[in-house]
């Protein structure tokens, strides 16, 4: 703040007072501006483009619903995910994949996921009678109580305010403790960046109001994305009208991938 060195003089008339007040105000602006701009600039690196367009993370809390009865195992979701997120195409790295369960009449359960289901599944051949058979899409569950975040030694994986578990690939040291800690096999080490990687709910799409790539391309609507807590959203309707299960509830990870019509044989 600039200090006045001259003693204040009584204004001759109102006009002079206004112009003097205006000068005072402009002086204050001049000193405050660098501070304000500096704060905005610092905030910019955190806020970024999406927030400039009005996206507020605090207003959302995302999850995904999956209707096992609707999944036809076409693998379009797994394929789209690799395209959208530039995941290496080798069958070792998947952010999402589809499994087929075949339960035979003598109680044996066979599970397959050839290349994550990307090219679909070969015809199921079983000499024994098939009791039940179905497809189950799998992905990161974006747990509310994520064990991967708990074990990361440096804070390179975290859960955002809108409920998405992300990885900071510029900070990750590649120790793979998070990969060990995930009970769902959702994480892997990207061989190119040598950092941990996993489904991000296509966060770069979600902040712009779009749905993840896998949800976009699912031809039967087996995948439903939205706000868990909203009164009206496709996901809200999904969890209202279906009996919901989650994977491995006994581990108390608080998964936010909600399965409808999930069979007890699914791990």
């Amino acid at each position: 703040m600039t200090t006045e060195t001259k003693p204040p003089q009584a204004p001759a008339n109102a006009e002079e007072q206004v112009s003097r007040e205006r000068r005072e105000f402009l002086k204050q602006c001049a000193t405050a501006a660098p501070l304000l701009l500096g704060t905005i600039a610092a905030g910019e690196s955190v806020a970024g483009a999406a927030q400039e367009q009005g996206y507020k993370p605090e207003e959302h809390y995302y999850g995904m619903g999956i209707d096992v009865k609707k999944c036809i195992g076409c693998g379009r979701c797994a394929d789209a995910c690799k395209t959208e997120n530039n995941v290496p195409r080798e069958p070792l790295y998947f952010r999402t994949w589809v499994e087929r369960y075949t339960i035979t009449t003598d109680g044996e359960t066979v599970v397959t996921s050839p290349d994550g289901g990307i090219e679909g599944f070969p015809p199921s051949v079983s000499e024994k009678g098939i009791l039940r058979t179905f497809f189950v899409p799998k992905l990161c569950n974006h747990c509310a109580n994520p064990p991967c975040v708990q074990v990361c030694p440096v804070g390179a994986t975290f859960i955002t305010k809108d409920g998405v578990v992300l990885v900071d690939k510029d900070y990750c040291i590649g120790c793979r403790y998070c990969v060990q800690a995930c009970p769902y096999g959702a994480r892997f080490l990207n061989p190119v960046t040598r950092t941990a990687e996993k489904c991000t709910f296509c966060y770069h799409r979600v902040v712009q109001g779009k749905v993840p790539a896998c949800v976009e391309v699912c031809p039967t609507g087996a995948r439903v994305f939205g706000d868990v807590t909203a009164r009206t959203s496709p996901l809200a309707r999904f969890v209202r009208f279906n009996e919901i299960q989650v994977l491995k509830p006994q581990l108390n990870t608080g998964p936010k991938a909600y399965y409808a019509n999930l069979d007890g044989e699914v791990r």
Binding site: V111, K138, Y177, Q180, G185
Partner: protein, 413 residues
């Protein structure tokens, strides 16, 4: 990536049952087997050293300084397998700068730092300080300067100062014993706290790791003491017998704990019991039943139980010294193999089966490469080279007997 396809197709062919697609490749390799093995030796060697100081076990006094230097040599090498394993070792400082206090791995960095500085280095320093000053006084050249710098300028060796040194060593050792427990128990906790993995998730894993560390540490010191003692022709057989005695009981404790874990799992028979039984009887049979169990535990127990004064002042079977020595040595080597197998069975075994509990993958251990067999052998040999340097710099034995005898013309060490 060119090399991936043949390696990948051979792995895929050997996958049995169903595994999550991301589990095909193992994440924690041989490096993560070597690392707990090395830190285990540190904890074990230190606890042996502390036996002498805190519990006044006089017979093993000759091994005190050697055990300390051994612990230090191995602790210095311990971070190397971790750095070689990291995807970004150049970012490893982040563990100290922004540690996640909920992460066992992050907290371990500080436990390691604590143990290295406050326990080991400090204890070595206090124990050697008087000798460092004496050596610096009568040496010349580089050796003199190294020793002088190591004194940190604290050159007062009056009785008072030396007494303070001894009290300090005792205090540090007392602090050091729980610190050593914490050091390797924590490594066990890094595995034991992973609820996603039923092979690892167990309350007993930190305890089992700790006791197997003690076993391997004592065995290592026994091995080193025997070899060095033979080379210098100053082997104290009573010391060796007492070491064997401690090794025997440590092994009994370790075996009891592992058996307890085994029985508990088998009895409760939780969902994972099927896949784990298949794991033990299949891919892990040789490393678990043969190497860790029979060769690494049962056989040494027989040797040590019969030959050492385990059940009284006299051994059950009295053998001539050379034979006894050789069998002690053989036991120590078998124990090392057994404890290394134990680390392998935990780390690799825990990743061989799927978290879907429906299938297995294989571990393709490379011969070369940053995480391959060659690197592991170098890392396992490296501490001995470091120990050699330390022993040359800070000789752990007293002056030769000839010197202390009056009128002797033998030169100083």
């Amino acid at each position: 990536m060119p090399g991936i396809s043949e390696q990948l197709s051979s792995i895929l062919q050997q996958v049995s049952g169903y595994i999550y697609p991301n589990e095909i490749e193992l994440q924690w390799s041989l490096m993560i087997v070597v690392y707990p093995y090395i830190t285990g030796l540190v904890a074990g060697a230190f606890i042996l050293a502390s036996l002498e100081r805190v519990f006044n076990v006089k017979e093993v006094e000759p091994t005190y300084r050697l055990a300390l230097l051994t612990a230090l040599a191995f602790l210095l090498i311990a971070p190397l397998p971790l750095l070689l394993h990291l995807g970004h070792p150049e970012r490893s400082y982040e563990i100290f700068m922004t540690p996640n206090t909920h992460s066992a791995m992050a907290m371990f960095g500080f436990i390691y730092a604590w143990y290295l500085t406050v326990v080991l280095l400090l204890e070595v320093w206090f124990d050697y300080r008087k000798d460092l000053v004496l050596w610096a006084r009568r040496e010349h050249g580089l050796r003199k300067w190294i020793h002088l710098i190591l004194t940190l300028g604290a050159t007062d060796i009056s009785d008072e100062a030396v007494q303070f040194d001894q009290k300090a060593v005792r205090l540090i050792t007392i602090i050091g014993i729980p610190s050593a427990f914490l050091l390797h128990g924590y490594v066990g906790f890094i595995f034991g706290s992973v609820k996603a993995n039923p092979w690892w998730s167990s309350v007993l894993i930190p305890i089992v790791f700790l006791f197997s560390a003690m076993v391997s540490g004592i065995a290592l010191v026994l091995l080193l003491y025997t070899l060095i003692g033979l080379a210098r022709q100053s082997l104290d057989m009573a010391c060796l017998d007492r070491l064997a005695f401690f090794l025997f009981y440590a092994l009994i404790l370790d075996l009891s704990l592992e058996t307890l874990d085994f029985i508990h799992r088998l009895y409760e028979a939780e969902e994972s019991i099927k896949i784990l039984s298949t794991l033990i009887s299949g891919r892990l049979f040789i490393s678990l039943v043969v190497l860790q169990g029979l060769a690494g535990t049962v056989l040494p127990l027989i040797f040590l139980g019969l030959l050492s004064p385990a059940f009284g002042h006299r051994a059950l079977v009295r053998l001539p010294e050379e034979l006894r020595r050789t069998l002690y040595l053989a036991s120590a080597v078998l124990i090392q193999i057994g404890i290394f197998s134990m680390r392998w069975n935990v780390v690799i075994g825990g990743q061989l089966f799927s978290k879907s509990l429906r299938g297995f993958t294989v571990y393709k251990m490379g011969l070369g490469g940053l995480e391959g067999l060659g690197t592991s052998l170098v890392l396992l040999a490296a501490p001995f080279f470091v120990l050699y340097v330390l022993v040359k710099l800070l000789p752990p034995w007293k002056e030769t007997p000839a010197e202390e005898a009056p009128g002797s013309a033998a030169p100083a060490d």
